[in-house]
């Protein structure tokens, strides 16, 4: 059975010799019949990146997890296990994340660890615009898909120049670069460590209920200063 699932997923990917991160997400959503999918890379050092997302809702889910530090991918990676939240409207988990993801159009979210043996790379998130659990088949397909994603990511990175990202991964990956630029600026403005500046920016985005990239862009373009933040 596992071999059949794998064959089906590889057939979906077969058109691309080197599928993009977004294509991996599209195939994940298609194979599991979900509304959308995203892939988060989460390193042990705390760096977080999005390898791709199928649509604006998935992209919002990635963004919220980055801003709030909570959500299905974060838990899947941290706990090393599949996370299922079939009814976001009824859950008490991830209060901040759930409220905003619901408002964005996601009713159910699921996180699958992307790992190879003990090596954890990140997580695949799936969402649906209707509440309800995954069927056993969808669950099994998502597990195989997460495994396929792990192998694609690592085999791509195997071709990377020393010390850098593989060019395909670098092209696909959204690193919230502007947020880190803003953190560097705030760190100088307030004379605090960069990590603390990042926390301030996240808190500001949360408090203002705005996307973190918008806040960061305002800081970088010097339209917003966090000096007068409480």
């Amino acid at each position: 059975m596992a071999a059949e699932r794998l064959a089906r997923i590889l057939a979906l990917l077969a058109a691309d010799d080197r599928p993009s991160g977004r294509r991996l997400c599209e195939v994940a959503a298609e194979a599991t019949a979900m509304s959308g999918a995203g892939i988060a890379l989460l390193t042990a050092g705390g760096a977080q990146a999005s390898l791709g997302a199928t649509d604006s809702v998935s992209s919002l889910i990635e963004d919220l997890q980055y801003t709030l530090g909570e959500g299905p991918c974060i838990d899947a990676q941290r706990l090393g296990t599949v996370i299922a939240e079939p009814n976001l409207a009824a859950t008490s988990r991830w209060t901040a994340f759930s409220e905003r993801a619901l408002a964005g159009g996601a009713e159910a979210v699921f996180g699958f660890p992307i790992r190879l043996g003990a090596v954890a790379l990140g997580a695949l998130d799936l969402y649906r615009d209707q509440p309800g659990p995954l069927t056993d088949d969808q669950h099994a397909d998502a597990l195989v898909m997460a495994d396929v994603a792990a192998r694609f990511i690592l085999s791509a990175q195997a071709d990377a120049p020393p010390g850098d990202l593989d060019i395909d991964i670098a092209t696909d990956t959204h690193l919230w670069g502007v947020v880190h630029q803003a953190a560097g600026m705030v760190s100088v403005q307030l004379d605090i460590p960069v990590a603390d500046a990042l926390v301030r920016i996240r808190a500001h985005a949360f408090g203002a209920d705005r996307r973190i990239t918008e806040i960061a862009r305002d800081i970088v373009e010097r339209r917003l200063s966090l000096d007068d933040d409480s």
């Binding site: 760096a47 990202l165 630029q181 460590p193």
Partner: protein, 250 residues
């Protein structure tokens, strides 16, 4: 006949090695010891090829076995050497009649109390990783069931080793991926610090960062990391120069 209960437990233990903390020497010592317990053999040993191709003794069920295997390697002749080089099993060799095949090894093994020998290759696809040596005190042939069980044990150990190598590669690649992602993050942070300190835009800040790394022979990510963590003052970096910089004054 192989002892089925020990065999089954050994299969499970070997398979466990695929998921749990893995140590090649532990795994192959388990293989050697359980071969003696489950099969009709007096001693067992395992040799693995180093990356150079040279065989090395990795596990033995007894000291006498270890000494004999070391001797086999030194003499560069014997059942393990043949099984490894040919990739084919060497079974039911009567040591008393093997002096022509192995002039040094055969008499030495007989003096050690062994009468017959078998060696099974550890093969994965077209590659042979090593071989398992089984020695008996009797010259009578080993039963087919024992030979099959021994090969099955060797095969599982082989899969465990191959999977482990994949896992090592995965860890290295993932570490590289994480380091590269972290580099890109700290470069953005350093750009932000320089931009703020010297009132530059991000592009100018990046040019300054690059120029400073080049002029001081530092890796970009290393310099960026030191700026981001505060060990280098961003104000010492900013010396905006036009993009391109081909006509750098010297």
């Amino acid at each position: 006949m192989p002892d089925q209960a020990i065999l089954v437990r050994t299969f499970v233990d070997l398979a466990d090695n695929l998921v749990d903390d893995f140590d090649v020497v532990d795994l192959l010592s388990l293989l050697a010891d359980r071969s003696v317990a489950a099969l009709d053999v007096a001693a067992a040993g395992v040799m693995l090829a180093a990356p150079s191709g040279a065989l090395q003794v990795v596990a033995s069920s007894s000291d006498a076995m270890r000494t004999l295997e070391l001797f086999e390697l030194q003499a560069d002749e014997g059942p393990c050497v043949d099984a490894y080089r040919s990739g084919e099993p060497v079974v039911n060799i009567d040591l008393a009649a093997a002096a022509a095949r192995w002039p040094s090894f055969a008499p030495r093994a007989v003096r050690g109390g062994f009468a017959s020998v078998h060696s099974l290759p550890m093969r994965h696809r077209k590659r042979t990783l090593g071989a398992v040596n089984l020695l008996r005190s009797e010259a009578t042939p080993l039963a087919d069931d024992d030979v099959h069980a021994a090969q099955a044990l060797a095969d599982i150990a082989t899969i465990a080793i191959v999977q482990h190598q994949l896992a090592i590669d995965a860890r290295i690649l993932n570490d590289q991926l994480a380091a590269a992602l972290n580099s890109r993050v700290v470069i953005e942070q350093a750009k932000g610090k320089i931009a703020q300190s010297a009132h530059l835009d991000m592009d100018q800040a990046f040019q300054s960062l690059r120029a400073h790394a080049r002029n001081h022979n530092l890796r970009l990510a290393e310099l960026a990391g030191r700026i981001a963590d505060g060990t280098i003052d961003p104000r010492s970096i900013a010396s905006p120069r036009p993009a391109g910089g081909a006509s750098r004054p010297s």
